[in-house]
């Protein structure tokens, strides 16, 4: 027989291991937030002890005020929110429509085209970034004042290339395949139009996959770095990750850096912790059926 004591000890050890590992994953983020509240000198001194993770000493929001002084922070935040929001919404519409067409509608070329779309999954973005940069510099755009050339320094160059991607279409296809196809056929027989079926039958059943696709796209778009770095030279169009460069010109004030990092990270972390089940489920769903 195992005594109650040994059992308690075992349980305690298990939790101790779990907590220790949790500390490894969380400490840099705690360090970030705590440091953002401290003056530079104290920040560096504190990093020699556990004080680095505690809100002690000379605590204030001065670094945040200084960060807003140094860089157009609101512009960067606005740009990121706009670019991420618009891309996520358009991506859901475009990719769900494509998934719908591939699963429920029978049309010429559907199998070949689906195979081609899935093949693009093995193309890492890094392998197309450079030619895409050349395209960005030369694409035409029809504006109010006629045709102009070049998409550099714009919102559209940060949005349009990321609306549709093979993975999102694939996730919708997988999800739609599990919906009862007879339901759609029945609706057609009854005379429902395709648009009605898409809006009134399939979309109401698609809550989980819409959440998954939105979360994955959100993470990719909000954290974009390489692409906006290459295509935005004007600060007016730069998103938050590229805006970071402002804090490394001239003298680096780590307190301000930490304040800016906290400002662009903590809302995302809060959002994640609030919706963590959906976040984790969406990552998991990329694996199970792959």
């Amino acid at each position: 027989m195992i005594s109650a004591d040994t059992q308690g000890l075992r349980l305690a050890t298990r939790y101790a291991v779990l907590v220790l590992i949790a500390l490894i994953f969380v400490f840099p983020l705690v360090f970030m937030v705590m440091s953002s509240l401290k003056p530079d000198q104290q920040l560096l001194q504190d990093s020699g002890s556990l004080r680095a993770f505690l809100p002690v000493g000379d605590i204030s929001l001065d670094n945040y005020a200084a960060a807003f002084q140094r860089a157009p922070v609101w512009t960067f935040v606005f740009n990121s929110v706009l670019i991420t929001g618009v891309t996520v919404v358009l991506s859901l519409v475009v990719c769900s429509a494509a998934g719908f067409a591939f699963v429920f509608v029978r049309w010429k070329g559907r199998e070949t085209l689906l195979a081609i779309l899935l093949a693009t999954l093995i193309l890492p973005f890094e392998t197309i970034a450079i030619p895409l940069l050349l395209m960005a510099a030369n694409l035409p755009w029809l504006g109010l004042d006629g045709i102009s050339w070049g998409w550099m320094n714009s919102y559209r160059i940060q949005i349009v290339p990321f609306i549709a991607d093979g993975l999102t279409v694939f996730l919708f296809v997988q999800y739609f395949k599990d919906l009862p196809g007879e339901l759609i056929e029945a609706a057609r027989v009854e005379g429902a139009s395709w648009a009605q079926i898409y809006r009134k039958v399939v979309m109401p059943l698609s809550g989980p996959i819409l959440a998954t696709a939105a979360i994955l796209k959100f993470l990719v778009m909000y954290n974009q770095y390489l692409w906006p770095l290459m295509v935005t030279q004007e600060e007016g169009y730069r998103p938050v990750m590229v805006g970071l460069q402002y804090f490394f010109q001239l003298n680096v004030a780590w307190g301000e850096v930490m304040a800016y990092l906290s400002l662009i990270t903590v809302p995302v972390l809060a959002f994640y912790l609030y919706l963590q089940k959906s976040f984790i489920a969406s990552i998991a769903s990329t694996g199970v059926k792959g």
Binding site: R14, L18, I21, A22, F25, V26, P28, L29, F31, M32, L44, G48, S49, V94, A97, A98, A101, V105, R106, W107, K108, G109, R110, T120, I122, E126, T127, I128, A129, I130, P131, L133, L134, M135, A137, V160, P161, A164, G166, R188, W194, L219, N223, Y225, L226, M230, M241, L244, L261, I264, V268, L273, Q276, I280, I283, A284, S285, G287, V288, G290
Partner: protein
């Protein structure tokens, strides 16, 4: 039957069209452009027309040659010693304006080794930095893929226990995944700092001050390792979740049967868990490998390829050329090389893990 009701070419094209056009224009077209441009001298902005220059970009990047150098001997055939060591003819005399070896013009020493006796074999490369970048990228992938996959599996097994509050731990382990790699890289720059970095302070305290402080990112022998460790820390939660999803597809009745049979923990893992995770394992290996080959942001934020090119990577080189130097064709050639490497490796992985029937 009802099939005529679900048949509609117009609807199919109308609904799938936008996604097809966007992917064709912004993924497939650039991919073929990369191939085409890599055979030209295209620049981002140039007054001169673009010309077809064949394999020249690839030669510039990939040319290697070996050279066997005999030590310098005097008239009697004795070794001429210089500072007590045999003296070799300088490589420069062969690679600069040497009419006998036009093929070596402009190449630089990559590495050398002695091949028995006094002779020394020198490997020359036209672009030594790119060669270093390829080697570094492979080291990164070869370490990250197994270590990250293994740690992620360990964490998944840990999190798969039935304990109160386990979901909180799962959420915490996953947290770095939702943080931008740029933010993570900056934080770790402070953690790795040579003087007041958290890591040095921690190691100093644990060793009672006997371990000397290390400038983790400033030292060529530790910089790549430091970036590897951080990258694993950031991404391991992602793959933990995928393993977890795999674990949860294994039928509980199998575990019940094993418990009745009195199987040991290891036997349960070896004969039930692991076979059930086969497909997950293949997927994880392929995904990590592809992600690892894209290594860029960490380098850009933390080291810029240094110190002494010890953290140069293929993608960093592609961006430095294509964007930094506006040499679109050179950057495209690197992209194509990267694609060929990724494709070859994923084909090999698929072949190695194929279903044997």
């Amino acid at each position: 039957m009802a099939s005529k009701f679900t048949q509609s070419n117009r609807t199919g094209w109308l609904m799938a069209g936008p996604a097809i056009l966007l992917i064709a224009g912004f993924v497939i077209l650039p991919f073929f452009l990369a191939i085409g441009l890599s055979f030209t001298n295209q620049r981002l902005v140039s007054p001169n027309p673009t010309e077809f220059i064949g394999l020249s970009n690839y030669r510039q990047l990939l040319d290697v040659a070996t050279l066997t150098l005999e030590p310098v001997r005097d008239a009697a055939g004795e070794l001429v010693l210089k500072d007590g060591a045999p003296d070799y003819p300088s490589i420069r005399s062969l690679t600069r304006n040497n009419p006998d070896r036009p093929d070596l013009a402009g190449m630089r020493e990559w590495f050398s080794f002695s091949t028995g006796g006094a002779a020394r074999t020198v490997v020359l490369a036209r672009d030594v930095v790119f060669m270093t970048a390829i080697v570094n990228t492979f080291v990164f992938v070869l370490v990250v893929a197994p270590v990250q996959a293994g740690l992620a599996l360990g964490l998944a097994l840990l999190i798969n226990q039935r304990l109160r509050g386990i979901n909180i731990f799962r959420a915490l382990y996953f947290m770095p995944v939702v943080v931008s790699i740029v933010v993570v890289s900056l934080l770790w720059r402070l953690i790795y700092d040579g003087q007041s970095g958290l890591l040095n302070n921690l190691l100093g305290t644990l060793s009672f001050g006997t371990l000397p402080a290390v400038d983790w990112l400033g030292n060529p022998s530790t910089a790549l390792g430091a970036i590897i460790a951080m990258s694993i820390w950031q991404a391991v939660g992602f793959h933990m979740v995928i393993w977890l999803a795999g674990l949860q597809t294994i039928s509980p009745t199998l575990y019940e049967a094993a418990a009745i049979e009195g199987a040991s923990k290891w036997q349960v893992f070896r004969y039930i868990t692991w076979p059930g995770l086969r497909n997950t394992a293949i997927l994880i290996l392929i995904v990590i490998t592809m992600q690892a080959f894209g290594l860029f942001a960490q380098i850009d934020v933390m080291t810029n390829g240094g110190p002494l090119d010890s953290t140069q990577t293929i993608v960093f080189q592609a961006i430095e050329r294509g964007y930094g130097k506006q040499d679109i064709s050179g950057g495209s050639a690197i992209s194509v090389i990267l694609f060929v490497i990724v494709l070859t490796i994923s084909l090999i992985q698929r072949w190695l893990t194929r279903e044997r029937s």
